[in-house]
Structure formats: C-alpha cells, structure tokens
Amino acid sequence: DARVTQTPRHKVTEMGQEVTMRCQPILGHNTVFWYRQTMMQGLELLAYFRNRAPLDDSGMPKDRFSAEMPDATLATLKIQPSEPRDSAVYFCASGRTGNIQYFGAGTRLSVL
C-alpha cells in the first residue's frame, strides 16, 4: 500500500533550535507539496516541487524556512531558528501529473 512517509511524527524543541522534517513521496510521484496546518490558518501551502525543482515557495517565510529535494525519494523542510509561532502540524503530500494529492501523516511540531 503506497503512502507518503513523514518523519519525525512528533517534535518538541526549544526556541532557536533547528528543525528538520523529512518526507518520502510515493514512488513515481513527481510533485511534492509542503503544507502547514494550524487551527487558525487551515491548510497553508508553503512550497511545492515538480521533478525536484522548486516551483513555488511564496508561502514560506524565507528568512527561517528552507525546502529542498536532494533526490526523488526525499524532501526536506528546515526551520532555523525555530520560533513558538512555528508550532503546527506540517504535512507533506505527493502527486503525479494532475492535481490529486496524497498526504503523509504529518509532523506535529511544538516549539517551546
């Protein structure tokens, strides 16, 4: 059963620390998305990639967030330095050509 895998599932860190979240898209999917979900903001698109190239990262705070795809099986989202307002659930999703997306289980981040 193909699925998007995200690690870690939970992360508690202190303000100022670096946080790295990882995502393994479904094999054969060429589009990868990063979303942030909070109670107040719903699903917020941070960045997305097509064939490992970044297509849009306009939703991402550039000063502290970065997203990369080192290879087709790994996408990363980094926050440095982290702040309490970054506390949220971060979802990765993948898809093929077309608009259907398959979501991972998410990383629940708490920044103290």
Partner: protein, 112 residues
C-alpha cells in the same frame, strides 16, 4: 490570486440527518478535488471532478461540479458518526502545474 471559499465553516447534525458543504472559486477551475480529514488525522483524497455539471456518488456521498466550473458541493445522506471530520475542497486551474488551492474546510460533527 485564486481563492476558494467553503461554507459553512462548521456544521453540527443529528445522526441520520443530511449534510451539505459548498465550495466556490473566484476563478474557473479545470478540476476540483474533495478530501476528508478525520480528527487528529491527515487529509485523505475522496474524489476528483473534471467535467462541467459532473455528478459522482460514493455510497451516501454525492459530489457535484457546477456548470460554470466555479462551484462544487458535497452532500452526505443520512449522516453517521463515522462521517465526522473536516471536508476540504481543492480547486485546480492548471492540470500541468499540479497545484490546487484548498478551501478552509467544513468541520462536521455528528451527534448520536
């Protein structure tokens, strides 16, 4: 930019009652997807609509795509407690880009 609006934001129903959520886009869409997110879970793809006026059914769920391809609805007949969760619509304007804009979701609670 493109906006996708969903109403209502919340809906509380008695088990057995029907439920409908509506989705409206500021621009004409190529397609629309519907997702369900259970409490504490991740969005799960339900269905995609592509054709003007299209109607699709999944058991007690009926999905419609408007004639102008700017609106859509999800109707659940005789709700059950297993239907609780947040229902998101997501509108795509460019199939090649792969990105869809998500609505803020409708959260459904069902009283047994």
């Amino acid at each position: 930019g493109q906006q996708v609006m969903q109403i209502p934001q919340y809906q509380h129903v008695q088990e057995g009652e029907d439920f409908t959520t509506y989705c409206n886009s500021s621009t004409t869409l190529s397609n629309i997807q519907w997702y369900k997110q259970r409490p504490g879970g991740h969005p799960v793809f339900l269905i995609q609509l592509v054709k003007s006026g299209e109607v699709k059914k999944q058991k007690r769920l009926t999905f419609q795509f408007g004639e102008a391809k700017k609106n859509s609805s999800l109707h659940i007949t005789a709700t059950q407690t297993t239907d609780v969760g947040t229902y998101f619509c997501a509108g795509g304007v460019n199939t090649n880009a792969g990105k869809s804009t998500f609505g803020d979701g409708t959260t459904l609670t069902v009283k047994p």
